[in-house]
Structures are given as C-alpha cells and as structure tokens.
C-alpha cells in the first residue's frame, strides 16, 4: 500500500503538469485510475 501511495502521489504530480500544459483539470477518480494502471504496468 505504501508503494501504491507513492505511485499515486507521483502520478498526481505528473498529471498536474499535463493538466497545466493542456489547460484542463483531472478528477481525483481519473488520477486514481491512471495510478492503478501505472502500478500494474
């Protein structure tokens, strides 16, 4: 769970960069989905 939390936090930061670049927002659920996919990947 600790590793997952670290991935989730990092995914949040990276997604925030994309959000600023694309001038769009990400819902928490979409960040969670990307985080889970990344952890499995």
């Amino acid at each position: 769970q600790r590793l997952k939390a670290a991935v989730h936090y990092t995914v949040g930061c990276l997604s925030q960069e994309v959000a600023e670049d694309k001038e769009i927002q990400f819902s928490k659920q979409s960040i969670a989905a990307i985080s889970e996919i990344t952890f499995r990947q």
């Binding site: 990276l14 990400f26 979409s30 989905a33 990307i34 996919i37």
Partner: protein, 69 residues
C-alpha cells in the same frame, strides 16, 4: 527506490538484481506512460468539449494505451 521496490515485488527470485541503468530506464518509461495516459485522457475529454478529465475518458483510452506500451 520506489520503482526498485515495486519491481522486487514481482521478481520470482529474491536474489534477482537490477542494474541502475535498467532502473533508470524503467522509471523513465513509467513517467512516459503516466504522461501519455494523462495526455490521452485530456485529448478524449477535449474531443467531448469538456474541460475536466473524468474516469470514463481514461476508460476509453485504456485499451489502446495498454496495447501501445
């Protein structure tokens, strides 16, 4: 270090080692993966004239994303 620990979660043999180059590459690949997932989600949302990426936008791009990586 976090990527290292995650990889070791999945190694069948505890004695398996990974070089720092391989680790760096894996960490970089994961960053590219995250940025690509987020960017595709954003494109999907913008294609639907929305200014917020929601979970179904990620759902729609997921199959192709997994095929591409």
């Amino acid at each position: 270090e976090t990527v290292n620990k995650i990889l070791h979660l999945h190694f069948r043999d505890d004695k398996t080692k990974i070089s720092s180059d391989a680790l760096l590459l894996m960490a970089e690949m994961l960053k590219v993966f995250v940025r690509e997932a987020a960017a595709r989600g954003a494109r999907q949302a913008q294609a639907e004239d929305l200014d917020r990426v929601d979970i179904e936008h990620v759902e729609k791009v997921l199959p192709q994303l997994l095929l591409d990586f």
